[in-house]
Amino acid sequence: MVGKVAPRTTIASNESEIKLRFGGGMNTRASSDEIDERECADGINFDLDLGNTQFRPRKPFDLVATTANAGRINGYAQLIKTDGTVTTLIQAAGVVYQVTDWDTFVQVGTCSTSARLRGHRWHIWNLDDVVLISDLAGVEQVLQWDGTTLSTLYHNLAGSFIAKYIYVEDERAYYANCISNGTSTPHVIVGSERSDYTVLDTGTRPASTLNDADAFFLPMPDLKPINGIAGAFGVIAISTKRGQMFQLTGNTSKDYAIDSLFYGSYADGDESMVSSGNDIVYGRQGRLESLKATNDYGDVETNDLSVKISNSIETYEDWRMVYSSRHQRVYCQPGDQTLMWVFHKPLADSGISPWMKWTTTHDLAMNPTTMWTMIDPEDGLEYLYGGDATGNIYRFEGSGTSGDGGTDTIVANRTSKMYSAPGLSQMFDLQGAVKFRPVTGETTDLNITVQWQGETSFDVSANITLALAESGAVFGGSDYYGDGSAFGSHLAGRLARERFTIPGQGNEIQFYLESTGTSMFQINEIYCGFRAAG
């Protein structure tokens, strides 16, 4: 993961001025006077962009649909055929619906209400254009969806066959954490016959006596339940719950084997491991790690993806991890927590924090019953989705103009790096200007709180109303000079300024910025001039 950030040409702090720029994520671990100027010491619901250093609220999540049965959203599957045709299934409680657009739900099957069906992109068997559907809950047999019919996987084994995880590569389907004919073998991975995902073998290990294409099974050496399988950088990695990370090696059924990849991975949670394109990211108790970095450099803290927020997540476990290749983000949701940590991959290795923390006042609470990424059935773009217990499906990073779920305003805030006056002096007579770019909406309130620190410690706030793109005509018509809507041009795309004055005096200051609303704006810079003496 390599990223380059925009040059910090306007970041400067000296005795007479501070120019606040943004663009970095949260760095809650380092002392607030040691973090990068573009990072923040704390914050929620801001957005990051590799090529932009603005402060802007994250986009809202949109309520895209509610299933007919209003059942708990427990799963999904999506088939992308070789001809590009996309079909999508949504599991709402015990019903599986096909969704062709977000207005039409057609029931195509039923399942246990406790099932947690998964039909990820890496489940797609393109030889026959079907998506294989696993069940994280381990109650439903492996299903398959061919774009028309949802059916139980036909296979050659006796009795039922359940798999919690599936991974398709090189014309083989790998089924992991299996229950075959009622016998649970959570530590076993079953490899199908090459070119036929229905031919399985739970009794034969790879051996020189087998044909190259034969089916086989392999147990995990630590005998712990498999809790993830993913492929990246030429490796099929298999994780065991609070155990180790293994890799599948070999080329044929004669020599497939399970080798140790990382002894102390300790991945936690049923969906705590995800491929992020050129890496595998996994969550463990209190940490989020890069498998590639661990593989390359060993288990060292500096390779932890979460090193800059480690103190903020040290008690979290049971992670759910989802990756969006379009947004190049890994969405990390710790079990039962009402927040989501978002890893913005382009900023990894840039030196500044790639982490955002998202929260909401909406009932979804950033803790969906199921979260996944898939191609939107309507616009064909990839998004993160989440469901709730009453059949609602939400699309993250949406385009709504009424806030989260179309109802809740978004509170976005950031606490800046701490700036110090030279030597023993103190800053005072602080005046500044907010340079911003309106996007949507009429106005938004920006609260600027200066946290004076040092020999004295107190907060002073200023509320500034930012007139945005839809604030009305500037001159002409019924608007006239001085009616409140006349000063300044707030056309979308133009930069606007609002000035402010903050009383107080102190050796150090931090800036806390907060906006609440449904409007979209970008704050390019906050300029502050001050005097210092003492």
Binding site: Q426, T456, F458, T501, G504, Q505, G534
Partner: protein, 218 residues
């Protein structure tokens, strides 16, 4: 004289930009700003003292009064705790007598009275005993003087330390002093002092404080 110390602190801190109209203090206790508040109170008190000293004559609310009642054979009497200096003489407003400051002070009294117990009767002079801080009479009263009450007129300590203490000035004087105290505050917190500003407004404040029209001729 309706301005309180809290008004003074708020006005001063507003003028130096520590608070603004939306964030004025409601008391003289504020954990984050205590350093600024304490310095503000200190500067106000110093300035009030300075104005009173420079005026020479007792100023409104600057003086206090008390009563010293003679007791047989008692030479020394406690003084009010807020006394700064006595405005002599003490006057017995019933009998028309007075007690003036002992010429030469306490040390001279010691020299003059080799046998202090021999000095009895009606006192006409007194002096503060620097050892005890009490007012020592020239003589020890006898039964004849017992009960004579003398009015003690004195300059009192004008210290303001609670939020509702009022300034001993008119509001006009108070306004004139605001730039003065601001300079005093900034001198200590910002190494910034404008002597011309300080003198100009202190003069203005003194002119208002006297409550006397300036002479138009001599």
């Amino acid at each position: 004289m309706s301005k309180t110390l809290l008004n003074g602190v708020n006005d001063m801190l507003t003028r130096v930009g520590i608070v603004d109209a939306n964030g004025t203090l409601s008391s003289l206790t504020n954990a984050g700003k205590q350093l600024f508040i304490d310095l503000s109170v200190q500067v106000w008190n110093e300035t009030v003292d300075e104005v009173c000293n420079m005026m020479g004559i007792p100023h409104i609310a600057e003086t206090g009064s008390s009563t010293i009642t003679l007791v047989t054979s008692t030479r020394e009497y406690a003084l009010p705790s807020n006394l700064v200096q006595i405005r002599w003489p003490l006057i017995d407003q019933t009998n028309g007598r007075y007690i003036d400051e002992y010429p030469g002070g306490y040390q001279q009294m010691r020299v003059d009275q080799q046998i202090p117990a021999d000095w009895t009767g009606m006192p006409y002079y007194a002096v503060i005993n620097p050892t005890t801080g009490y007012l020592r009479m020239e003589t020890a009263p006898e039964s004849t003087e017992n009960g004579n009450a003398y009015d003690l007129f004195y300059d009192k300590d004008l210290v303001m330390d609670t939020y509702d203490d009022t300034f001993p000035f008119s509001d006009a004087t108070y306004r004139a002093l605001l730039p003065v105290v601001t300079e005093g505050w900034e001198r200590r917190k910002r190494n910034d002092f404008d002597i011309e500003e300080y003198r100009k407004h202190l003069s203005r404040a003194l002119a208002f404080a006297n409550k006397v029209n300036r002479r138009s001729h001599w």
